[in-house]
Symmetry: C2
Subunit: 265 residues, 2 copies
């Protein structure tokens, strides 16, 4: 199947998913759309997230995508089921892959989740984790300061560390939590800072890597893998400031992305 | 969906998959069938493997399984496509999950695969690996001595080490191979021995753990996860010697399995 795979996110966070998808599925072609203009989604009401998400999906459907990856935890929490019901292509979100990986990794089933206010309030992670395994202790924490920090390009340094330390301070009193899910695709961009604050004994699960594995599984389960000889050309779109998006994207990928455009939804 | 998940294998090797499935999906019920009587499959002609596999599948279909896991690499290599085409339930084999995990793990894309003669001659691993990623160096090695060793219950000790060392000796001259796929579900039972012989710098990928992740993904993708309150009761069947099967199974699980029966196909 030579059609591309669509990836949507509220901003630059989904780039962590896109990079991992491109690494694990190097023959596939991806079209990425980040709704940077209206980011963050995490503090918006569910209905607003629903409308914005459909606007992104409709934009990508023009490109005849063969699969949709919802690389935004908030959109996954609020809209995934509706998308699955209404689209006739496979739709994969980031919450279940992250939850599954945490269950695979954790030794004592004491699992922390950090995310936006919307994701945490939706209880999507505890629900999915307990759907799979009924005896899990889930510690959820909303970290509304982190996405704006990342979208500004503040990915390391003393000030970033201070904000992360403050945000994660409620976890200080929890004993033995051995696994932490980054329940927001922006967070892998500041993973080293988070790891430093949490300590080396906590295993950090990044939705990005895990989602790419699931996308690969579901692509091949549905016989949708591309197996021709084309050299893939990926497209990146942002609804917001092109220069800031390019700056973050190029530094995350480590090279100049050839196709980055701004778009109005 | 309260129906069980079926797991078939040529013998006891698939127990490594079953254990991991039960750990990662503790609410699901599993029915395992090991064709110990006719094990190993790895040195049999494809047509024979095909017939034996269908006999196992037909036995499990009586239990109204909602999904089939082919926990045998040889059967996956020879019969998976046919099973997928002819059954109206999802079918998952062990080769693609192992291949995907190796691609995710490997830094330099120099990947080794060990398996039975049948699996290695089928070229299923190189095919699947290169379907996903065209620039992989795959080093394949048939190790026909290992399955009989495991089925005898010889899982550690000097003699086991000697056999493994001999079997893996062709890998000695390959530089920089950073990942080794255990392309046979019997091998995780002797994983410590294999790790010792290969050295700590090689990451070993066990199909079992990886297949469980994929089963979980495809179950939830198809809305087949069980979410009631039943306590699962698993069933294990063997076509061969009940006592030997029970001995290996109980030692692998670390407790007495309550339901183990012998069966004639």
């Amino acid at each position: 199947m030579d059609q591309p795979i669509g990836v949507i996110d509220s901003g630059v966070g989904g780039l962590t998913v896109a990079k991992e998808l491109m690494r694990q599925l190097p023959r596939e072609e991806f079209i990425y759309l980040g709704d940077t203009l209206r980011c963050p989604y995490g503090s918006r009401p569910a209905e607003e997230v629903r409308i914005y998400t459909w606007e992104m999906v409709n934009f990508l459907m023009q490109y005849r995508i063969k699969m949709l990856v919802v690389a935004c935890n908030t959109a996954t929490a609020f809209v995934l089921d509706e998308l699955k019901q209404n689209l006739n292509i496979p739709v994969v979100g980031v919450i279940q892959p992250g939850a599954r990986a945490a269950i695979k990794t954790s030794q004592n089933l004491k699992i922390g989740v950090i995310g936006t206010t919307g994701t945490i309030q939706s209880k999507a992670y505890p629900d999915v984790l307990r759907d799979i395994h009924s005896e899990i202790d889930v510690y959820s924490l909303a970290c509304p300061q982190l996405v704006p920090m990342v979208e500004k390009g503040m990915l390391s340094g003393g000030e970033a560390e201070k904000i992360v330390e403050e945000s994660l301070s409620p976890f200080k009193d929890i004993q033995d939590m051995d696994t932490l899910i980054l329940g927001c695709t922006h967070y892998p961009l500041i993973r080293p800072v988070i790891q430093k604050v949490m300590g080396e004994e906590v295993t950090i699960i990044s939705s990005g890597e895990e989602t790419a594995r699931d996308v690969s599984a579901i692509l091949s389960y549905n016989d949708l893998l591309y197996n021709g000889e084309r050299k893939p050309s990926h497209k990146f779109f942002t609804t917001g400031n092109l220069a800031i998006f390019q700056h973050i994207a190029n530094s995350w990928f480590g090279y100049q992305l050839p196709f980055v455009k701004s778009v109005r939804l």
